[in-house]
């Protein structure tokens, strides 16, 4: 993906000439203080709200009427955003259903995806019967069921408790490693971004701009003791300092 400059404005300037090249297979975190336009940027990439200027370039791919590569983008919202009247299966089936795949043809792939997020036994449960973390897993399964090339995640674990969040972080890493999907992950957590990504883009607010672009060593094989390792400490330290600078550079008022 060659992301080019996009300016967004609706009275206020949410993003100013933001340019970003995303490499295939990258795990990129967009990190920044609230109001820095990181979610806005993500939504523009997803086609959920047009950029006021600038554009997104996709690599050669079938582009649909809305300027998105067909079936190649998955989106995970901050909330699980499930349909409460549908079972887990029905919710994960949705993206395929909308593109006209029959239920029987989709079944195998849905069950496979559910298994990959550890929910194989819950396909007939309704969302209200699940815990917050499990709902989020359903949401991730739904985003992955189309086998997207790009997975967009908008602070997906912000509302979860620390244990569930760490567990899900490991799951996301595993899924990223296994599928080779490109991930753009919006977060306001230094630790989360340092743990997950191999590239962190720090943004500053008012107007939203890229402040720093930090590469990180990450082969997706984080072990349990990584959280206490020296490498992790150095990484979080570096990211924290960059974020700190971004907050003080940003706004200026």
């Amino acid at each position: 993906m060659r992301g080019v400059s996009k300016v967004f404005s609706n009275g206020t300037l949410a993003l100013k000439d933001m340019s970003l090249d995303v490499e295939r297979g990258e795990f990129l975190s967009l990190l920044g203080p609230s109001g820095c336009g990181k979610s806005t940027a993500l939504r523009i990439v997803a086609g959920l709200g047009a950029a006021s200027s600038g554009k997104i370039d996709w690599p050669s791919s079938r582009i649909n009427a809305r300027g998105l590569p067909e079936g190649d983008v998955g989106f995970v919202f901050q909330e699980p955003t499930l349909m409460p009247w549908k079972t887990v299966f029905g919710n994960v089936y949705l993206p395929l259903r909308l593109t006209g795949v029959s239920k029987s043809a989709a079944r195998e792939r849905i069950m496979e995806t559910l298994a990959s997020v550890g929910l194989a036994d819950f396909s007939e449960a309704y969302p209200r019967e699940l815990s917050g973390g499990m709902k989020m897993r359903v949401s991730i399964a739904r985003a992955l069921v189309t086998r997207p090339k790009l997975l967009l995640m908008d602070e997906p674990f912000a509302a979860l408790d620390e244990f569930t969040r760490q567990k899900l972080n490991d799951d996301v890493l595993r899924l990223w490693r296994q599928s080779g999907v490109t991930v753009i992950f919006v977060t306001h957590s230094v630790f989360e971004s340092a743990y997950l990504s191999n590239r962190i883009v720090v943004m500053k607010a008012r107007p939203g701009q890229v402040f720093a672009d930090l590469p990180l060593a990450n082969d997706g094989e984080r072990t349990a003791d990584y959280r206490t390792s020296e490498a992790y400490r150095v990484a979080t330290h570096e990211v924290s300092r960059s974020l700190h600078d971004a907050i003080h550079a940003g706004g200026g008022h």
């Binding site: 919202f77 409460p84 949705l94 969302p127």
Partner: protein, 290 residues
């Protein structure tokens, strides 16, 4: 100083928030189940007994206040008169309700398609909604080909608006992110309507159905009062008036009981339909014990 009093056994069953699957087995004990039925039924019986005693002890004549037994007798003896009347009222109520459901839902879907359609139709919706429908009954009686049709239109108009406004609210109250999601996957307008908006509006529709069902019956009765029609095709409301003129108070009560029964049946039926379609997912239809 009041002391803390512990009432009842404490429920120490901690259904943790992280439990994988919240188990929703009702934990009501058998005694409570029995009491749940026995208490209201007991109160009802008590009321009937009190009614009977009041009449008998005070020697109130039948044409002022009949005993429950008189009413029951009248219900049996006047059945041949009351049954056709009940049938007429039921037919008007349910036809009106069915038309209101179809019309209300169709209109709501039309209204949410474009804000221009909504704006254009807004004045009519307001005018029709704020006008007491019963006040236009005399006009309807003039314009409609027959009394039955006039009653039907009245009843329809009254049931129509709660269904329409609930449905519009429901169709508009879809989770914004879900709409985005449908957008993302390139869902057509039709797919979004069928798979997302209509299911999301179901709880609102059910609320509209329950209100509309009750109102359709009320409107059918009130409109018939206004029409004051007589003859073959008269409903329960006419039988009520007729009984009053003739001081046949037991029959008046019998007709009243039939109306109440109809109301309860409609309420029960609409509630059941609501439960049937929502109980698996919607909060309003899920038993919670907290």
């Amino acid at each position: 100083m009041s002391e803390m009093v512990q009432t009842g056994p404490r429920d120490d069953d901690e259904a943790g928030t992280d439990s994988a699957v919240a188990i929703l087995v009702p934990r009501t004990s058998t005694t409570e189940k029995v009491l749940r039925i026995a208490v209201p039924v007991g109160m009802l019986v008590l009321g009937v007994v009190a009614w009977h005693l009041t009449v008998v002890l005070n020697g109130i004549p039948k044409y002022i206040l009949p005993t429950p037994a008189d009413v029951a007798n009248s219900l049996l003896n006047d059945w041949p008169t009351l049954l056709p009347a009940l049938w007429v009222t039921l037919r008007i109520t349910f036809t009106a309700l069915a038309l209101a459901l179809v019309g209300g839902v169709a209109m709501a879907i039309l209204l949410v398609q474009s804000k221009w359609i909504e704006l254009a139709l807004f004045p009519y919706a307001v005018i029709l909604q704020v006008t007491p429908i019963i006040a236009i009954a005399p006009l309807l009686l003039i314009y409609a080909p027959d009394t039955q049709t006039a009653l039907l239109i009245c009843s329809f108009l009254v049931a129509f608006f709660p269904i329409l406004s609930n449905m519009v609210t429901g169709l508009k109250s879809v989770d914004h992110n879900l709409l985005n999601l449908y957008d993302l996957y390139g869902a057509s307008r039709w797919q979004t309507l069928i798979y997302l908006k209509i299911p999301a509006a179901m709880p609102y529709f059910m609320a509209g159905l329950r209100i509309g069902g009750g109102l359709a019956l009320i409107a059918a009765v009130v409109a018939e009062f206004a029409a004051g029609s007589a003859g073959e095709g008269s409903g329960l409301a006419f039988r009520l008036l007729e009984s009053q003129y003739r001081l046949n108070i037991p029959r008046l009560f019998a007709a009243l009981i039939l109306l109440t029964g109809t109301g309860i049946a409609i309420f029960g039926l609409t509630s059941f339909i609501a439960w049937l379609s929502l109980h698996r997912w919607h909060e309003s239809a899920i038993k919670r014990e907290n």
